[in-house]
Amino acid sequence: MGWMRSNGAAPAEIEAIYRDRCRAFLFAVTAFLGDGEAALDVVQDGFALALRNRSSYCREGSLEAWLWRIVLNVARDRQRSRRRLAALPEFEATEDAREPDDEVRASLLALPERQRLAVFLRYYADLSYEQIAEALGVRAGTVAASLHAAHSARPC
């Protein structure tokens, strides 16, 4: 029946995913940016962008993974421009992180971007390795390695 499917996503399909999974998108982007309001703006802009470019969805992967890719790209752009504007440094684990939670938080936020995103997508969105791979544009093996590295990086 694949021949019956045309390219592009219907607005109703995108809306259904938004209504069902908005919380997961918002949580993952909030954790990534460290700012709930900015994350909301990114998720709204990301879905708006997806709506405008819905004809470019070619139905090779899942629609949700395609939406994740768009939203995460908007989030990355937003983070880059915020860093440029405020000259914010990358988060680094500091010696002030004395409490166990602080140490875990510091280790988590000090992870490379892809590993951090893999952890967030796994935890907040409950995506499979394959879905995370699609969303991040990498192979499933890379996701498994990223998650393993992320878990290994946690303090004992």
Partner: protein, 78 residues
């Protein structure tokens, strides 16, 4: 694993889930479409005007040079 779960939950404590709205997504998708169309048209119009102005200037200079050349030859032969 519990510590990591606690930290991950803390990271999203201020996520404004209740503010998420589909009508807002629709409004944003319409809002940013128009200026791009306008700006594309504007750029195209400016490019056409610039080309026409350059072409007009080139033709004008060419005609003027030819006229001067004809006058010069007429003066020399006359």
């Amino acid at each position: 694993m519990n510590e990591l779960t606690m930290v991950l939950d803390e990271l999203v404590a201020d996520a404004p889930v209740e503010k998420a709205s589909w009508p807002d997504v629709l409004a944003r998708s319409r809002k940013s479409r128009r200026p791009r169309r306008v700006s594309k048209r504007l750029v195209l119009a400016l490019a056409v005007i610039t080309l026409l102005a350059l072409a007009g200037t080139a033709v004008g200079v060419g005609v003027s040079l030819l006229t001067q050349q004809e006058r010069f030859h007429a003066a020399v032969s006359g």
